[in-house]
Symmetry: C2
Subunit: 496 residues, 2 copies
């Protein structure tokens, strides 16, 4: 015994010694009330200092794996309830076996079925991947993030590490309220809830608004953000998709649908840099949409996605600003795409009474959002890093955006392009090009992208569309990748 | 105009100038195409440097709030869609008003009704409060936490700030798998999901196991953790409570309930330092409970709550270790009470197929848990800080535990005490003492605690019980506070 102990470099030696002995005890290799080798002996056996062994024995005693008899030495404690320590297993009857798959409800099964991360193709090494619309981590100003953390820890480290509030970290809420006010939002009667990113905020809002006696009914742009579609479906909503035009959702089609007299529980809209089409809804359409929603009394969930990533043109107010004192828009914002997705922080700005309910749901689900994440974000904003970073990110992404656009125009001349900013472009190819087939052909050539059909509401829609995320692709790969896509598209067209 | 600009100390001046002007534009005080004062002029008006104004104007242009005409100056951009900028409000029809309260479903309403944070008494300044069972932040080793963050950021800062995996941060998962193995758990066929604390893990598990065609049915200890009760209720479970005995749940009563032939979807159990009673389930009971669950095929959700805060006695294996190779126990762990509640990290260790489903639900709900939180925790563990901290915390809490116990024995001699460790004691007073009345009387004397009835399943149970959390109360206040509770209890008894 004790021959197989091996030190590895990355952890304190005393902990490695303790865990090694603990494991022997747990496995039953060391029996209850057996005397452990003296610290001097063990030190020789494991080739570690005697002080290390003394500390490891003490720690084992603290944790109840050993006990000391003064003047005699350390002994192994009886391991109660361990199946291994009590023979091959507890008597067979205690081996509780459950058929979990059979117990999964529709929600759990659908969550797997709709989980594109589990079905998607993974980019292997060396492949050129246009599937990501996450930011390029090489732009991250790590020094500023570190400083934000250290600054905040110095100010109130103890507060950050203890329980926070379900509603969110107060300084951050105040900051973001002012931030939204500076976008033209009338804050009267409104309040804010901090969530773990956009997704949690959206899911919480849906869970409160889902009707009980019937399926929910939602309106949204078609195509739209697939995570939003997934969550609407998981919460049982019927989805009525309205086609997109170059300046945003078709208000004509929207009115047609609203006129039919159906009850809609909500509309989910992404007016700026819409995912996947990248389209910015025009100011006129924003007014027209809000008029229709008011006329038919349909609440709006506004996705503030990428609003900060505009590369040119005048500032356009979000729908919640257009609504003035109206309380009917739930705005969900996040800096995930602009700043750091790893910081899971989003915010829901909405009517105060509604936020009160969402706050209680948030508390029931996860107590509160990481205070460290919230406080880093707050201090980073307060230190003035955000403006500086966004300026740098815009310059870099704008360049990539223009390069991607130029390459598409050169290599995919038949494709219709949309995308006014953000981190991706959306392509509509000629009707007879199936982008799933195109993807299969491109994958063989080492290039992948996101087929567009997954953003559409009905199966079989958008089969000739695709999304190109360019944020994490190097310039030369953008050109090379799009050339491959163009070549394969021509082959497909010629083969028909 | 420009007279009311005031600098405040904590933010970069250029951002303050930019936001000030932006606000004037948003509010319509500066009109579209109006020329802004020259940078020289504005510098004089606001009493800031000309370079600051130049930078602020540039930033306004970047954000689309202004535009420059070379050689002429900066002009206000047209604010599209802003209600304020277009007069008192957009035409009235666009002021979408929603009666949110009327639209809240049963889930949202219940979340508020069951939200004790919204109903509880708040400890005002100067009051002695025994309501918290959060750790004492004065024990936090902030230096070690800072070092863990800096170490990890240096190793892979870019990875930490970009998207992570729904399942969790891989190094942390590997660490915690080994940690659980060292508690005697057989890992074969098992997998782990990282969640935002215990609560999210529990809620996700319930949402997957909740049956569709009928109400769910759950067994749990009575009393038990009120957040767990809340989530079971919110997910529509009928709860069958089994009374507690000094060595844990009554196996006799448990068997009686199971024998009735009802279907139970799960049992929720806290075998160690049970909340609120503080009782540790004996090894014999652990085996007996697992035998019963196996016999009746009831899955177990084990709450690993405070398992690390044992002050004496031998190590006792968790139920998931007792189950050996059985896959029927879902173990949910967290270091929130032992380490830092602000780090929202918990883990679900369970059957691999089940974890696959829970992972997809986690992804649908919140993408993933804060990578910063996970990586700080990982590096803190790896650096060997955990053992050191737990040793210090145990010593401190054990002292407070013994003090609290001694004070209760002195001032509340008629109370039955339970609590073998952890951060609180549970008191059962004579039948005729109503602890809600007692709380009212004590509040007037500046002392508050948690009435015990909220931990019981049926209304009207446990009316003579209370929980004393001592972790954040100073020694002298423990003594003083319990003396007050004792005095008021005697008054109440004498008044009857």
């Amino acid at each position: 015994m004790f021959q197989d102990f091996k030190l590895n470099g990355d952890r304190p030696v005393v902990i490695q010694v303790k865990e090694y002995i603990q494991r022997l005890i747990i496995k039953g290799a060391l029996q209850a009330d057996q005397k452990l080798p003296s610290t001097r002996e063990m030190s020789g056996l494991l080739k570690v200092s005697r002080n290390t062994v003394i500390a490891a024995y003490e720690s084992l005693e603290d944790d109840g794996f050993a006990y000391a008899i003064p003047g005699k030495g350390s002994y192994v404690a009886a391991m109660s309830g361990h199946s291994a320590a009590e023979g091959s297993s507890l008597d067979g009857s205690a081996s509780l076996q459950i058929d979990w798959k059979a117990r999964m409800n529709r929600y759990a099964i659908s969550a797997v079925e709709l989980d594109i991360m589990k079905q998607g193709i993974r980019g292997s090494k060396g492949i050129i991947s246009f599937t990501s619309i996450a930011p390029d981590e090489h732009l991250f100003d790590l020094g500023d993030v570190r400083r934000a953390f250290m600054d905040r820890m110095a100010i109130e480290g103890q507060v950050l590490l203890n329980y926070g509030y379900a509603k969110g970290y107060k300084p951050l809420i105040e900051y973001l309220m002012r931030y939204m006010e500076n976008k033209g939002v009338d804050l009267s009667g409104k309040d804010m809830l901090i969530t773990s990113g956009f997704t949690e905020g959206f899911d919480i809002a849906l869970s409160a608004l889902r009707p009980e006696s019937r399926s929910g009914a939602a309106i949204c742009e078609n195509p739209t953000h697939h995570t939003a579609l997934k969550n609407l479906k998981l919460q049982g909503f019927q989805i009525n998709g309205i086609p997109m035009e170059r300046d945003g959702i078709s208000t004509e089609k929207l009115e047609q649908v609203l006129k039919q007299g159906l009850t809609f529980d909500l509309a989910y809209l992404t007016p700026s840099y819409h995912n996947p089409t990248g389209i910015v809804m025009s100011p006129e359409k924003r007014s027209a949409v809000m008029k229709l929603m008011t006329q038919y009394g349909v609440p709006v969930i506004e996705d503030g996605f990428n609003e900060e990533l505009r590369y040119s043109g005048a500032h356009i107010a979000p729908l919640i600003a257009t609504a003035g004192q109206g309380n009917g828009v739930i705005y969900i914002g996040s800096f995930s795409k602009v700043l750091f997705p790893g910081l899971r922080v989003g915010w829901v700005l909405a009517d105060r009474a509604l936020i009160g309910h969402l706050e209680s749901i948030k508390r029931a689900r996860s107590i509160h959002t990481s205070t460290i994440d919230q406080s880093i974000l707050y201090q980073y904003l307060l230190n003035g890093n955000f403006d500086k970073y966004v300026k740098k990110a815009r310059t870099e992404y704008k360049r990539k955006y223009e390069l991607t656009k130029a390459c598409c125009e050169a290599y995919l001349p038949d494709a219709e392009l949309t995308g006014d900013g953000g981190l991706h472009l959306f392509l509509t190819l000629p009707k007879d090009v199936n982008t799933r087939e195109l993807l299969a052909a491109c994958t063989e050539q080492g290039v992948i992208f996101t087929p567009g059909d997954r953003f559409f509401i009905q199966d079989g829609e958008g089969m000739n569309t695709l999304r190109l995320g360019f944020s994490r692709v190097a310039d030369e790969h953008i050109e090379q990748g799009i050339r491959v896509i163009g070549e394969q598209a021509i082959k497909l067209i010629n083969a028909k």
